[in-house]
Symmetry: none
Subunit: 242 residues, 2 copies
């Protein structure tokens, strides 16, 4: 697949955006780097003249933006979702600098839709939203003032994707079919049920087991066949008696 | 010289800026990456409330900005001036991508002041201004729409400088202890034993299960705590009866 098609597979998702001007500026930032798929989750005001004004020559990106009622809907069909954070440390998630995240996204985007998710300007992503993403990424920044404007953050991610593209485009397509977010989510639930069955997980006092499991499965980048394999194993466990 | 001192030696020069909001947004972009030296050449309006508003938490950078009547004055004391352009080809100048320009600037900035020069939002740098710079640099972008907002261009240059600094260059403190190959190998054996116990794996006819498990565990890049966690789960399975 060529570079243009790869970039089309990369969805920029803005959730709960407060200022419509930021949506327009993000669209402009995307287009300067060849990105075009914009998804908006519950924007406070959209469409809006401020969005159009800041989009400048990227009105086409804005006009084609998809508006969704939930992040889950905006991620439909994606095999990888990368959350963005201004914090470097998120205990429950694998953290990647933006440059590494760009390579991870491109590796999948050659053949499947992927997403980068940006939260609200002030509050970022909710923990529910974060839970739908497998990787958290950050932009290396001044520890004393890491407050990038939303569109500036989109610009840097888009830029890193653009400059990483020539290298990634030459890679061969993955031999194996990556599991979808839904498939990994269902596997995780099944794992927890089985862990309850064996007595390893106490639902009244789960401690850190669920978050540990979530993080482990997110990092593993499971393939469809591996998900099926693990379901098979868990099924064999469920047949045992306490 | 340490990183902080090096960044202080890098002057961001905005010439003939039309919109004061862009000056404020540029100040914010600089501060997020640890830059603080802002020089303005004949800004159309400055100071201005729009500049303050877009600067957000970087008002200090704005307040310390030096205003000059000419680019020559703004470059006083600098040993290297890098012009920025949205065009990739400038016949009369050496052209560098922003990443290379960042390294060239840092090499000098450890001991001397240097500058990056951004022209007017619409017309860029005049040829007289361009003649005062030794290197022209560009941000790799979409050839069909390379029109980055001024502050977005400043953001990318500042970001590249930040990540090119020795302390930031791809380094990350490992938050978690990675499991050793031995630990992962022992976990894999235990997994196979448990799979035999549940009847999922038939040792007389293992099919592709062992190789699948090996591949999955290798890709997951497990941490020590996760290995222990999975051992705990497998132990709980082993206590069940067929």
């Amino acid at each position: 697949m060529n570079s243009v098609e790869t970039l089309k597979n990369i969805r920029v998702v803005l959730t709960q955006t407060s200022h419509p001007g930021n949506i327009g500026a993000a669209a402009r930032a995307m287009k300067t780097m060849g990105l075009s798929a914009l998804a908006l989750v519950n924007p406070r005001q959209f469409p809006h003249p401020d969005a159009d004004a800041r989009a400048a020559g990227a009105l086409d990106v804005l006009r084609q933006a998809q508006v969704h009622a939930s992040l889950a809907a905006a991620l439909n069909g994606c095999v990888l979702a990368v959350a963005t954070s201004s914090r470097r440390r998120e205990l429950r998630h694998e953290m990647m600098a933006v440059r590494d995240a760009a390579h991870a996204l491109l590796a999948q985007a050659a053949s499947h839709p992927v997403a980068i998710v940006f939260g609200n300007e002030s509050s970022g992503l909710s923990s529910e939203e974060a839970g739908l993403c497998q990787v958290w990424s950050y932009i290396p920044a001044n520890p004393e003032y890491a407050s990038l404007n939303l569109a500036a953050a989109v610009q840097i991610f888009a830029y890193e994707l653009h400059v990483a593209l020539p290298h990634a485009a030459g890679q061969h397509e993955p031999e194996f079919e990556p599991a979808s977010l839904d498939q990994v989510g269902q596997l995780r639930q099944r794992f927890e049920q089985t862990m309850e069955h064996t007595g390893f997980l106490d639902p009244a006092n789960p401690k850190r087991l669920p978050s540990r499991l979530r993080r482990l499965l997110a990092r593993a980048r499971l393939e469809v066949e591996e998900v099926n394999f693990l379901h098979g194993f868990l099924k064999s466990v469920d047949k045992l008696r306490r």
